[in-house]
């Protein structure tokens, strides 16, 4: 299965990757080869196979609703490129916030 350059450009945008035209060409070729390899699976007749939600044959793993210590703010922020001691700082995001 061959991917078009447009497909790859779209995937690149979704992944927030700014790809140059040359990079797009490389990516299109390499991704096509990966997708083609995985595409072999399509040759298998799976009509009698139940969909698999998880490879482990385990279910219902829960923890109890008991608080555990959190990190300190300093620890939480230490790997962040920019922070003000309280919050992570990122380039301005305008418009409304929060979505779930």
């Amino acid at each position: 299965m061959a991917l078009s350059k447009n497909d790859v450009a779209k995937v690149g945008l979704l992944a927030r990757l700014a790809l140059s035209d040359a990079e797009l060409d490389t990516m299109t070729r390499e991704l096509s080869s990966i997708v083609g390899f995985v595409g072999q699976l399509e040759k298998i007749d799976t009509s009698a196979v139940e969909p698999l939600a998880h490879p482990l044959d385990t279910q219902n793993v829960f923890r109890e609703d008991v608080p555990r210590p959190s990190l300190s703010t300093a620890e939480a922020l230490q790997s962040s490129p920019r922070h003000d001691g309280e919050c992570f700082l990122v380039p301005a995001v305008l418009g409304d916030t929060g979505s779930a």
Binding site: L56, F62, R68, S70, S99
Partner: protein, 536 residues
């Protein structure tokens, strides 16, 4: 390079509801359930407003959905975070049992079918408040679907059954703060909220007016608070509502006259911070869409779904910026969580643990205590603690109607004036029942009892103390006879009038009796005087 990208609203799966033109009334008015119900006259508009809601509710757990960080509101930024909710490499989520149980409870309360097998999926998008780069949500196998919640007018004037498409369990994102006024270039991110358990409830487009939407939301909130699922505090973001709305407009007389129904493009409204905002935003949007339709004749399907934000101070909805790229969340099964299966025994236990929903409680109160369904509605809408107070009071008083009157006229009014909760109300049911009992015994009348009630509230002293210090002592019968005799001797004209058949003349004696002794019971004075006159 990373470019912040706003996620599009999540699609309610492939089940985008089919809009069917309803046979219902074009428009109807429903009372404002937040205040005293008022019946207004229905206004007729040349279209039907079709509304569906998407509600996010924070579940009342101690800890987050996938880690042990506290969910307490109001903590300083980034003090309730750990490697899991920060999305640090190597961390793994483990499902909070309580969160799943509360989610199941809300779905049961909404009459949903609970799936025996459910799993979680990754919803991929980039946004700074989403540290992992994906949200753990549910895509094709939500834990519940196909429910319903009806809202009924307490006076029985109308009702509306709203279908629930699905309820699923997912994690919340963090909070972005941007101070546009200060001109500071950075957005600050607080991840305390990231990973908080949320139930997402998606309704069918079954609502037909902004007032109905508000009344239904009130009922939903009441239900979830009753069942201990969520505190539904909108100020703290525990309940968030988005609304989808469009209009069905009969063209050329509508289908009955050989015409058809034109449907305006669906608009999703966001940023509504109260149920009142929801009602106002929907009312505004209906008119806006009708005017736009008259100008452009644009119909659904020809333009992409639009998202508009509600600007509360301005009272308008505004188009939000269009994203050049349509939503593509590339959902795939979350490999770090195993599926959950729900057995019949589990469901039975969950049902058992659930208290009665408000709709059932209203009926129970009305029949058990012989009060009107309107009165039952007022009491139930105040919450479970108030109902418990009422039931204790009614049980001790033995008269539901009397107890209900005291609840509504005295207890509720005081709570409204002074604030506070029924749990900390200084006059407990036993004391109030004692007071009401003394009125029934004839120790004093209701208006005197109200004065005592007010004094007990003001001073915080026990009833007996107040009764004694106010000089209120039950007037014994000898005293009462002597007082009435004196009254009759002073009022020969009243005696003559009563003998002449004008019993109402005795009313004139009551004021005088109260002057002689403020503790006398007016009813008793009247009865005693009439007795004495008959014996004369």
């Amino acid at each position: 390079m990373l470019i912040p990208h706003r996620p599009e609203p999540s699609p309610p799966l492939a089940i985008l509801p089919t809009f069917v033109c309803p046979p219902e009334r074009l428009s109807e008015s429903v009372p404002d359930t937040a205040s005293a119900p008022v019946t207004t006259t229905a206004t007729t508009v040349p279209y039907t407003t079709v509304i569906g809601l998407e509600v996010h509710v924070q579940l009342q757990t101690q800890t987050k959905l996938f880690c042990g960080c506290s969910t307490k509101f109001g903590a300083p930024p980034n003090t309730q975070v750990c490697p899991t909710c920060l999305g640090l490499p190597g961390s793994l989520p483990v499902m909070n049992r309580k969160a799943f149980e509360l989610a199941v409870r809300s779905a049961l309360a909404l009459d949903c079918r609970i799936a025996s097998f459910t799993k979680w999926d990754r919803k991929n998008y980039f946004y700074p408040d989403l540290p992992k780069g994906y949200q753990i949500s549910q895509f094709d196998l939500p834990f519940s679907s196909d429910g319903t919640l009806e809202v009924v007018d307490p006076k029985g004037a109308w009702s509306r059954k709203v279908g629930i498409i699905r309820v699923h369990l997912e994690e919340d994102a963090g909070k972005s703060m941007h101070d546009e006024a200060s001109g500071v270039a950075d957005t600050r991110i607080d991840l305390n909220r990231a990973g908080t358990p949320l139930c997402e409830i998606v309704t069918q487009p079954d609502l037909r007016s902004p007032q109905e939407a508000r009344a239904w939301l009130n009922e939903l909130k009441l239900l979830l608070v009753y069942l201990g699922v969520s505190d539904c505090n909108m100020q703290e973001g525990s309940l968030r509502v988005d609304a989808n709305v469009n209009l069905h407009i009969p063209v050329d007389g509508g289908p009955d006259a050989g015409g058809r129904i034109a449907k305006t493009p669906i608009v999703e409204i966001k940023n509504m911070n109260s149920f009142r905002s929801v009602e106002r935003a929907l009312a505004y949007e209906a008119i806006r869409q009708y005017e736009e339709w008259q100008a452009t004749k644009a119909e659904m399907g020809k333009t992409p779904k639009q998202t508009r934000g509600w600007d509360d101070p301005a009272g308008v909805t505004r188009a939000q910026r269009h994203k050049e790229e349509s939503s593509d969340y590339r959902y795939f099964p979350e490999p770090d969580l195993v599926p959950v299966t729900v057995s019949d025994e589990w469901l039975a236990a969950a049902r058992q643990a659930m208290g009665p929903p408000p709709a059932v409680l209203r009926q129970t109160l009305a029949t058990t205590w012989k009060i009107s369904s309107y009165d039952a509605d007022v009491l139930v809408n105040q919450g479970g603690d108030l109902v418990a107070y009422f039931e204790e009071l009614a049980g001790k008083v033995g008269e539901g109607k009397v107890a209900s009157n005291w609840m509504q006229q005295d207890v509720l009014r005081t709570l409204n004036e002074r604030g506070g909760t029924i749990g900390e109300f200084p006059v407990r049911p036993a004391a109030l029942a004692d007071l009401i009992g003394r009125v029934a015994k004839g120790d004093f009348d209701t208006s005197r009892a109200r004065e005592i009630f007010a004094e007990v509230l003001a001073s915080g002293r026990p009833i007996d103390d107040v009764v004694a210090s106010m000089g209120i002592a039950a007037v014994d019968d000898d005293e009462l006879v002597a007082l009435c005799r004196a009254l009759l001797a002073e009022n020969p004209k009243v005696v003559a009038d009563v003998k002449g058949g004008k019993e109402q003349a005795a009313a004139g004696l009551i004021g005088q009796a109260k002057k002689k002794n403020p503790n006398v019971n007016p009813g008793k004075v009247r009865a005693m005087c009439l007795d004495l006159i008959r014996q004369m």
